[in-house]
């Protein structure tokens, strides 16, 4: 119909929405600095004191685990609170009345918060490797692994934000989820230091798999395990993103 305004192409929608979402740095930079940088950095320092005598393998785990805490779990909290804010403050309604696709918006949120977390990641890489005396040997695959590692917990954050009844519930649930993902498997501690049950759960814990992938691509050596790590991280992400798309209130569908 000629009366309709033309919707922008998918890439243009995505770029605009990423730029809009990037403007969130205006309110969330403090949380990114504290939660995404200082908390993992101090955690890394604290754990390294405990693990100093356990050998380089333990230090590598602590290093990669701290990166996961910053990349994945920091984003989980930020995205959760952002999605809750969008639901309760009318932002989602605003976007729903524009000719854009819901999945473009979800992707834009995840990309924007990933970009916002990059300075924290670089800080951790530089200071963390210096503090723990880890020599980095980045593999080109790290360029794929780093963004991929952000996705699963970002999607979990969006899923929590899309479902909770109020912002307080969202905050509590994301803290609980963060501890569960960080604790259920070799994320911050070497696998051999964990009980067998946690090692088993760690096999399918995307946070543990992401830590493993980061360890292999940033410190090395790159093993066959990387394929399984990335498959589990990607599969988990796709499942959760599908649920986010289903659960996030948007326009009414054929509900009559």
């Amino acid at each position: 119909m000629s009366k309709r305004s033309r919707a922008q192409s998918y890439p243009v929608q995505l770029i605009d929405l990423v730029l809009i979402e990037l403007s969130n740095w205006r309110w969330c930079w403090r949380s990114i600095v504290v939660v995404g940088t200082f908390v993992p950095l101090f955690g890394m320092v604290g754990l390294s004191i405990y693990a100093r005598d356990l050998g380089p393998e333990a230090l590598n785990t602590i290093f990669s685990g701290s990166l996961v805490m910053s990349l994945m779990l920091g984003n989980l909290g930020s995205i959760q609170s952002h999605v809750v804010f969008m639901r309760f403050q009318g932002t989602l309604e605003y976007f729903a009345t524009l000719p854009i696709h819901k999945h473009t918006l979800i992707l834009a949120i995840i990309i924007a918060f990933f970009l916002l977390s990059l300075p924290a990641l670089l800080t951790l890489l530089i200071f963390g490797s210096a503090l723990l005396k880890i020599s980095l040997a980045p593999h080109p695959l790290a360029m794929l692994v780093i963004p991929l590692c952000v996705l699963p917990m970002s999607a979990v954050g969006a899923l929590i934000g899309a479902n909770v009844g109020n912002p307080q519930q969202g905050g509590a649930l994301s803290i609980l989820t963060t501890f569960l993902f960080a604790g259920l498997g070799p994320v911050l501690f070497p696998a051999e230091r964990l009980p067998e049950i946690l090692q088993l759960i760690g096999e399918i814990n995307p946070a543990a798999r992401a830590a493993s992938a980061l360890r292999q691509t940033l410190i090395g050596p790159l093993g066959e395990l990387i394929a399984l790590d990335l498959a589990i991280v990607s599969g988990f992400t796709l499942c959760v993103l599908f649920l986010v798309g289903k659960k996030l209130d948007w326009r009414a569908r054929h509900s009559l």
Partner: protein, 302 residues
């Protein structure tokens, strides 16, 4: 051409026994300014949200240019600009950014969206707010920004939820004047909710009165006013203790101890004016029945 065709619409919220709105049917034609009046809790916002497809309906149908509003996900947003009643949607953006992105995402190219942003800032007299964050604007400025955002990129239909709440008299006048311009010069169909029946009368061409979830009446105000028994409204004010003697059979409302409102038929006017000692009054206004009178007439008749 029919823009909106709402038929037998009903919305029952989960866990609620009483419908938020029930059996609502009306049409809005192209180029019309259609106002929805109603008291608090009458179901106005629910109806508007159903019309912009933000809320599903329990039963009934809403067609937009002949197609269900749920037709495809981009159908309604490509045709309708919506202004919500309350929203902090654009808080992290400046006023200029909010207008630019809204125009761009509604299909304008980059330079056209920049022009549109500048045009809207001027049209809504917000040039000085261009670089201010939405979160730092006053309630009234934020409402004006939401209105400007809804009108970005020339959507053919505007659906506005309380466009003049929180606005000072000057801004209210600007809103009504601009809505009239958008309707007259750009052919926009405008549908809005308001409590402000007196001011809305300046622009409303057809009105729907909503009461307790039901549409009591729709029609053009001047036609509906013919059904009013007393078509004239006389408001008088006087010094304390100086109430004027008036004929006994008048429909009189004591607004305050020193201000009365009297509803009259034309043939009663002469007797009432004759009974009043104008010198003892501090104020007197005579007007024809307003949209507000119409609203009270139909709501009280239910």
């Amino acid at each position: 051409m029919i823009v909106y065709d709402v038929d037998s619409l009903c919305k029952i919220y989960p866990g609620q026994a009483v419908p938020a709105n029930n059996n609502i049917s009306f049409q809005v034609c192209e180029g019309e300014i259609f106002g929805i009046l109603g008291d608090n809790g009458a179901g106005k916002t629910t109806l508007i949200k159903q019309m912009v497809n933000l809320l599903g309906s329990t039963s009934g149908s809403i067609l937009l240019y002949g197609k269900p509003v749920t037709h495809d996900s981009l159908y309604l947003p490509s045709l309708v600009g919506y202004m919500p009643q309350e929203s902090h949607a654009l808080n992290q953006l400046t006023a200029g950014e909010a207008l630019y992105y809204s125009a761009h995402l509604r299909g304008m190219n980059r330079s056209a969206a920049i022009d549109e942003r500048n045009r809207l800032l001027k049209f809504w007299k917000m040039e000085d707010l261009r670089d201010q964050y939405s979160s730092r604007l006053s309630g009234g400025q934020r409402r004006l920004l939401r209105l400007a955002v809804a009108t970005a990129a020339s959507s053919k239909v505007l659906v506005l939820d309380e466009p003049t709440n929180d606005l000072d008299p000057q801004k209210r006048r600007l809103v009504w004047e601009n809505l009239r311009v958008l309707n007259r010069d750009r052919g926009k169909t405008i549908i809005f909710i308001t409590h402000d029946a007196v001011e809305a009368e300046r622009v409303i061409e057809r009105v729907g009165i909503l009461h307790r979830g039901k549409l009591v009446i729709t029609g053009s105000p001047h036609v509906l006013k013919r059904n009013l028994k007393n078509k004239l409204r006389l408001e008088i004010a006087f010094e304390p203790g100086q109430a004027p003697p008036l004929p006994a059979d008048l429909e009189l409302h004591r607004l305050t101890a020193t201000r009365w409102q009297i509803y009259l038929e034309q043939h009663q006017l002469g007797d009432v004016i004759a009974a009043l000692d104008i010198d003892r009054l501090t104020d007197m206004k005579l007007s024809s029945a307003t949209l507000e009178d119409l609203y009270f007439h139909y709501v009280e008749a239910v």
